[in-house]
């Protein structure tokens, strides 16, 4: 009898345990994360046409083919032979492997997956800070919208993934005093994935600094680290600094961010995402909303602010406003700070949860994801809307051979799809800054001696978007002739080149 009772109670226990697991898996908070995943998916599909992915793929392909990272440029003609540090090599490998496995769908799957991990981390941190899951969802949604500026197949997403991991480790340490041993391997990975590890160091630095004082000032409070905590933090920091040297380029990769700040001012001046937030754009209005939201959180909420929250918020906000690309970073830092100060919804009540309904919603979302997942052809079509696919095919058909002055963000696409047509410039801005090419490109584009720039580099062909001012200039210049045009691109040839080729067929305007 005892056996059947124990069997029955064991079965009941297992059944309750399974129900408990199912209730947790299909809980309302998890369903909220699925909704966030659906939003991320929507953005991922829209924003595939990232200009730099192509030369990243080429680098990774060359790495696999030749088992070495090319130290000098061989892709363009304007910076041919120039030394280049490939500071994102490890992220490129991931994208290339995904491409090799599933083509463009593989790339989409990869960056979608990274983004889900990133924002799951943001959502988790928001909940761990004490926010109800509904308020955490709203805060994470704001983080997602702030991150739209960088949603695409970008290597920097790996950097932000490392950032989220760093923040989780620091949160865990703050709560339990453990976990810091993860930092050195994290930084060792990070420096090979992307240069945003500098931000990671700053975050660690601010976290340590905030615990060096103790006091209360208005809403802000600071508590000193204990001696043991401080020792561990400093040790972890030192070990992390040492771990940065675990990379194929040694100290050069560690010094690279400083090179960027000191020698590459032109990148920050000319490249759009490095410029300040523009409040007339959707991103800008959201940034404005976040600033006012922060102010409201400070004024209307009685919850105190830890000093590290204040410092991190100030750093993230400052960087985001000065350089729009860091809106993404602000979207990682600010939501977990804002979320517990939001009181938009009544708190989550576990007793009212309906796992079966959550499961249905989650299943529908997953099914939609699969149903709406674009095919390779559909993704290629989106790429063709932004990149000069047809123009390059024309150039290859016509066996055009010469120096091509191209739109900045088409360089990588040319290098991947038509490597024999070496472009003038691409998104690897650094090598083009060092030799003045980026400056000259900007001069030509903003109609400061464009014809002189084209003569200086002995350009034979110019491949641009049709509505550019320089396109209009060349259309009306006797020294240049339009030989191809469609909705995406227009191709000009130097009149002497056209004559020398004895009148190739003119292009078709679609």
């Amino acid at each position: 009898m005892r056996t059947s009772v124990s069997t029955a109670s064991g079965a009941a226990g297992r059944s309750r345990s399974f129900t408990g697991v199912a209730a947790r898996v299909f809980s309302f908070p998890v369903m909220c994360m699925f909704l966030l995943g659906a939003v991320i998916f929507g953005f991922c599909v829209k924003q595939f046409a990232e200009p730099d992915i192509w030369w990243h793929l080429r680098y990774a392909r060359d790495l696999f083919q030749y088992h070495s990272i090319p130290p000098v440029d061989t892709y363009s003609f304007a910076a041919a032979g120039a030394f280049r540090l490939n500071f994102e090599w490890l992220s490129e490998v991931a994208y290339f492997l995904a491409f090799r496995a599933m083509g463009l769908q593989g790339i989409l799957t990869l960056y979608f997956g990274i983004l889900v991990l990133i924002y799951a981390g943001v959502y988790y941190r928001s909940c761990a800070e004490g926010a109800g899951c509904k308020n955490a969802t709203v805060a994470t949604l704001i983080g997602i919208f702030l991150g739209v500026v960088s949603i695409g197949p970008r290597t920097l997403l790996f950097g932000w993934l490392c950032m989220v991991a760093l923040l989780l480790v620091l949160d865990h340490f703050r709560r339990t005093g453990k976990g810091l041993w993860l930092l050195p391997p994290l930084f060792a990975l990070w420096i090979n994935l992307h240069a945003s590890w500098v931000f990671g160091l700053i975050v660690v630095g601010l976290t340590i600094a905030s615990g060096l004082v103790q006091g209360e000032w208005g809403l802000v409070e600071a508590r000193k680290w204990t001696a043991a905590q401080l020792t561990r933090l400093l040790l972890a920091l030192a070990a992390s600094l040492a771990a940065l040297f675990i990379n194929p380029f040694g100290y050069k990769l560690v010094l690279y961010p400083f090179d960027f700040f000191h020698r590459q001012a032109a990148v920050r001046q000319y490249v759009e995402e490095w410029q300040g937030v523009d409040f007339s754009t959707g991103n800008g209005k959201l940034a404005l909303f976040v600033i006012l939201g922060l102010l409201a959180a400070m004024l209307f909420s009685r919850r105190r602010w830890r000093l590290d929250e204040v410092l991190l918020m100030a750093f993230a906000l400052g960087e985001a406003l000065l350089h729009a690309r860091f809106l993404f970073f602000a979207g990682l830092i600010i939501p977990p700070i804002l979320a517990p100060r939001l009181n938009l919804f009544p708190p989550y009540d576990r007793d009212l949860d309906k796992p079966w309904l959550n499961a249905i919603i989650m299943a529908c979302l997953a099914a939609s994801l699969v149903f709406f997942f674009p095919s390779n052809a559909e993704i290629q079509h989106k790429v063709d809307e932004k990149c000069p696919t047809a123009a390059l095919k024309f150039m290859q058909r016509q066996h055009l051979d010469g120096r091509v002055f191209n739109q900045y963000f088409w360089g990588g696409y040319m290098e991947w799809n038509a490597p024999d047509l070496k472009p003038f410039i691409d998104g690897r801005a650094d090598i083009f800054v060092y030799n003045g090419v980026l400056d000259d490109y900007h001069k030509a584009n903003s109609i400061e001696e464009p014809l002189q720039v084209l003569d200086k580099y002995r350009i034979d062909y110019v491949l641009l978007q049709p509505q550019r001012p320089i396109s209009y200039l060349l259309e009306h210049s006797p020294g240049w002739q339009e030989i191809y045009a469609d909705n995406v691109a227009v191709l000009f040839a130097r009149a002497s080149t056209v004559t020398a080729r004895a009148g190739p067929s003119s292009g078709n305007r679609n």
Binding site: S280, E448, P469, L473
Partner: protein
């Protein structure tokens, strides 16, 4: 207390002490701080004389004072000749013109310098009244001055901001004493004739009223309800002020004008630099960043409560300033008195330690410095000539150039004032050019979008632009145009005879 016997000898010490204390008030440290702020304003004022719109404003005022008639249609340009036009800033133009008539460019400089001094005296005073120590109030006002740098020039909108300062003083006074609201209607009656910024005055008034419709405490924010009599007075003042807006030469049209700007003149906000959002790469933008952080720091680190109207005004001012750089001036007026009492940068002012003689010396030095450094007419002309095509216009007049001119946007007013027979294609009165599409066409041509087609569309014979403009480069490399004049400021192109338009 006066002695009971009132002989002159016994009163003398009291009169002397009263004069002395009066002098101590005049030469007190807080007043000396204001004189330093005036010096900062003076420095800004000198830089801004070459304002593009002052010229057609002067012409408007001359027309009004000489012909005693308000302009209702355009007679200055050829692209909008005869088009209906509302001169919504007519009253501000008059003091500038009178000052110009009296003392030329120096007179203009004096006018806007004085207007600025009055504005920032108001800001400083309000900061002190809000409870800030004079040193902290000085810093906050200096911050407001730096934010206002974007508009420190002979601009009509300064009169609008002066009215806003007047309104804020009236509202502060009403909050303290319950009186003086009767000043609002005449203020608005003046304001609508000065500048379209009266709309901001309406928003500020509405926010002030709304701030007192609820009562409660939420975190650091407190709200105290207006008493019924206060609400009545405020509503009455609002209604009468709204009625006073119709006291203008253009009637309801002037009242509706700001809505016209918002709804029909989107191009202005798209193409005119000061209507664009703050650019954080500029000095203004960095100031805006400092302002944002100062606000957040004030909210976090100060224990002082915020009134609900302060919160709403701050949010509004921040939003419009970041969305449109020209309103950084407005943000400075609003936020300085809000931030000042929350600053604790200096130990408090102590009257006992004050040194009136030292203050008097400093103030005298500031005044002497301003007089000494006040630019001569020639120096101001030089600043103007560095920016405007004076020599090019002289050339055109010598050559009897007669034809349609496509000009740099910022030069249209200067041409209308200095060479009225050379009617420009466009000037800073953006509105009339927006209505008929000229504004869009102008900027398209300047940025090499169908430039030749636009020059043909308007049958342009001459193009007068800065040498660095993309359009200048295009025309330099075109056989259809050739340069006939060029200097460091301007280049003038003429349509080549062989490619001239048919019939011309």
């Amino acid at each position: 207390m006066l002695p009971t016997t009132s002989s002159p000898e016994s009163i003398q010490p009291y009169i002397r002490r009263s004069r002395l204390s009066w002098l101590c008030e005049i030469f007190s440290f807080p007043v000396m701080c204001m004189s330093l702020l005036a010096a900062a304003l003076f420095r800004y004022s000198i830089r801004g004389i070459a304002e593009p719109d002052i010229w057609w404003h002067l012409r408007d005022a001359r027309s009004l004072l000489e012909h005693h008639v308000f302009l209702h249609s355009d007679t200055y340009s050829f692209t909008t000749a005869g088009a209906p036009w509302i001169n919504f800033e007519w009253l501000s133009e008059v003091p500038y013109y009178l000052a110009f008539r009296a003392a030329g460019l120096q007179g203009i400089l004096l006018v806007y310098f004085l207007v600025l001094v009055l504005i920032y005296v108001g800001v400083y005073y309000r900061s002190c009244r809000a409870g800030a120590d004079c040193k902290n109030a000085t810093i906050a006002t200096l911050g407001a001055i730096c934010l206002g740098g974007v508009s420190m020039a002979p601009r009509m909108l300064l009169f609008g901001w002066l009215c806003l300062t007047g309104e804020l003083l009236v509202l502060n006074h009403f909050e303290r004493t319950g009186r003086r609201l009767w000043l609002l209607p005449p203020l608005f009656a003046l304001w609508i004739n000065f500048h379209g910024s009266w709309v901001f005055g309406v928003v500020v008034l509405a926010i002030t009223i709304i701030g007192g419709l609820v009562e409660g405490e939420w975190g650091l924010v407190v709200a105290q309800r207006w008493s019924p009599s206060q609400v009545k007075k405020l509503l009455l003042a609002s209604v009468v002020s709204a009625g006073a807006l119709f006291l203008n030469p253009f009637g309801y049209k002037l009242v509706l004008y700001p809505f016209d700007l918002l709804l029909r003149q989107q191009s202005v906000m798209r193409y005119i630099e000061e209507w664009e959002p703050v650019d954080f790469s500029t000095w203004n933008g960095k100031l805006a960043l400092i302002l944002i952080f100062a606000l957040l720091a004030a909210a976090l680190f100060s224990r002082r409560s915020w009134r609900l109207d302060e919160v709403l005004l701050t949010a509004f001012a921040l939003w419009v300033a970041l969305a449109h750089a020209r309103f950084m001036f407005f943000a400075g007026l609003i936020m300085a008195p809000i931030l000042a009492p929350r600053l604790k940068l200096f130990p408090p002012y102590e009257k006992e330690l004050d040194k009136p003689w030292l203050n008097a010396v400093i103030m005298a030095a500031v005044v002497a410095g301003m007089v000494f450094l006040f630019p001569s007419a020639a120096q101001l002309e030089q600043k103007v000539d560095a920016v405007y095509p004076r020599r090019a216009l002289e050339f055109m007049q010598r050559q009897h150039v007669n034809g349609r001119i496509f000009n740099q946007y910022g030069w249209g007013g200067y041409m209308e004032w200095n060479a009225p027979q050379l009617k420009p294609g466009i000037d800073g009165r953006a509105d009339i050019f927006v209505y008929n599409g000229v504004f869009n066409d102008f900027f398209k041509a300047m940025t090499l979008k169908e430039s030749f087609a636009i020059l043909d569309k308007y049958k342009i014979d001459y193009v007068l632009v800065q040498p660095k403009e993309p359009l200048a480069y295009l025309l330099e490399h075109s056989t259809a145009w050739h340069p006939i004049y060029s200097d460091a400021v301007a280049v003038l192109f003429e349509r080549t005879r062989d490619t001239a338009l048919p019939g011309r």
